[in-house]
Every structure is written in C-alpha cells, then in structure tokens.
Symmetry: C2
Subunit: 180 residues, 2 copies
C-alpha cells in the first residue's frame, strides 16, 4: 500500500485499441490505487506525470497515531468511498456535460484538491497536465481541449503559464462547471 508523497500521477484504463480513459489524478497524500489493497489485480494502470516520491503505509501509520482505536480496514473503506464519489462525479461530467462544463469542472476539482493540502490560499497552483491528459480524462480530443482552454484564457477566466494555472474569475468558472 503505497502513498504518494510528492509529485503528480494518474491512473487510467486502456482499451484494446489504444483509447485511454484517465480515471483519476493522484496528488500528494493520495494512496496509489486503493483497489489493489482489496483486489489481487485491477484492469487500471498508473502512470507518473512528474517525478514522484512514494512511501509505504504512511497514511496507515498516521491513522494509527491519530486514533488507534479505528481499524485500517475502515480507513481503506474511507479511501475507496472517496475514490467512488469522485468517479461518480466524473461519470456525470462525461455522460451529461458539455466540453466547456467538463473543463471547468476539472480545473475546479484540481484546484479544490490542491488547496486542501496547502496552507496558503492561492488561486494559483501547479498544473503539470498536458492537453492530451485533460482530453483523456474528459473524453475529448486534445484539439478541442486546446480550443476550450484558449477560449477560457481569452475570456479572462484562467491564466496558464510556466506550468502553473491561475483562476482569475472563479465566479464565472463555477457558473459554468459547478453543477451540484
């Protein structure tokens, strides 16, 4: 049971003909595939986006420290439940949202998750994704992702430079991408 200490990764499903669906992005603090803890093997694979630093069982240790009464199995269920509700959101985005809505959703989703792990509240965060990754996560082509994000930039919703993304107009972005 590995935990991601630093760097970004993602895991994905690869179809027989090479098409790829990214299922989730892994940020520092996430455990690599809660599934492998339960299943012997899973169809999904994991790939690094940046250099990574990993450690074993860190979350379990912390968990034990914090509340020694609670079992590891429960923490695992917790992680699985997280993964499941994120995946449900993704499915809803894929099945029922336009390209604009999906891109806005992803930007906000990642912003929320990175914000959760840093003390400083900033509308600017590291963004190591290529447009191909965004496309594979959102069920689009990279060309269309390019058009959509260019439009977002031209409209002043986001700024993108040097591997960082800045949310300039969160209000509008949420109007587009926040559905629940």
């Amino acid at each position: 049971m590995l935990v991601l200490c630093d760097g970004w990764a993602f895991h994905y499903l690869q179809l027989a003909d090479g098409r790829r669906q990214i299922l989730s992005f892994l940020l520092p603090g996430d455990l690599l595939s809660p599934l492998v803890a339960v299943r012997e093997r899973s169809a999904s694979s994991t790939m690094a986006l940046t250099d990574l630093q990993l450690t074993g069982l860190r979350r379990a240790e912390i968990c034990n420290e914090l509340r020694a009464d609670t079992g590891v199995a429960l923490a695992l269920a917790e992680a699985l439940a997280d993964a499941l509700s994120n995946m449900a959101e993704l499915a809803a985005a894929l099945g029922r949202c336009s390209a604009e809505e999906r891109v806005a959703y992803l930007i906000l989703h990642l912003a929320r998750r990175t914000a959760a792990q840093s003390i400083v509240r900033d509308e600017r965060y590291r963004f190591p994704l290529r447009q191909q990754h965004i496309a594979d996560a959102l069920g689009l082509t990279s060309v269309h992702v390019s058009r959509t994000m260019r439009q977002f930039q031209d409209r002043g919703l986001i700024r993108l430079s040097g591997g960082f993304l800045e949310i300039c107009d969160r209000r509008e972005l949420e109007r587009i991408g926040l559905w629940l």
Copy 2:
C-alpha cells in the same frame, strides 16, 4: 445497510438543471449504496425500477456465517471495490466509446450480472429498463438509444419482447462492446 432481495433499482446523480446520470443498476443481491455505510450523506439518490423487496444486513450475516473470522469492514471494502471498478468501466465507456459500443456494453454487463445470480444459463433475461434509463446511464438521448437498439434487433443481435431481452448473437455483440 440494506440489501436488495428482489427487483431492480438504480442510483443516479441529478444535476442542478435536471440532467441525470445513472451510476449503476442494482440487482438482487446488491447492497443499496455501499457509500452510505461510510459517508453520512452522498449526493446520489436511489430509485426503484420495479417493485422491490429489501432486507437489512443479510450480506453481513451470510458473511459471518461463511467465515466468521473476517470483519464486516472488509466485506464493505469488497463491495466498494466492486462498485468502483464498475464505475471505472462506465467512465471509460462514457468517455471513450461510441453509442453502439456503449449500448452493447450495457447489455453484456447486465447479462453477466443476471447470469451470475441464476443457476440456469440462458441468453434471455428480464429487462425492465425504459430507453430513457439506458440513455441516462450511457450519456445518450432516448431517441438515439431507440435507433441503436432497433438496429441491433434488425441485425439479429438481440431480441426484445415482453420485458425480456434475449442475446441472439453474443459473438458479434462482444465484438462491438467488449473492449478490455
């Protein structure tokens, strides 16, 4: 923690403007939302497709009977893992597959699951879904579902009558819809 004894249901996510994404279909033997066991509340709702019969904790009891050593939490993790990998498959279908592929996938998916719980191996199973449900599960419109399924019937892949679906040409259906 409720278990579905008889009948079909589904759970779904409803967007603010009414759009709906069906996340999974519940068949006899499934537990209603493994999520509620972990989370206090979840954004998804459950709805019946047919008359239902429910019971509490049956799976846990069985589990305890079968192997008293194993904890309930682990069984829960098991159920969550199932839900998660099904959801991952769904996401891949939604993000990366054509309408034909998605419909074939759903038919085979449901066939597999119903087959798993009946002794008799039959290519014919109860099918209480309206086309609107299929559409909401697969990210399509009911009109397009109608066209696609009509074509499947005309091509002799399936037959559909009296609330039952028969798989006539499993080979071809799998060629279309089985990607992993």
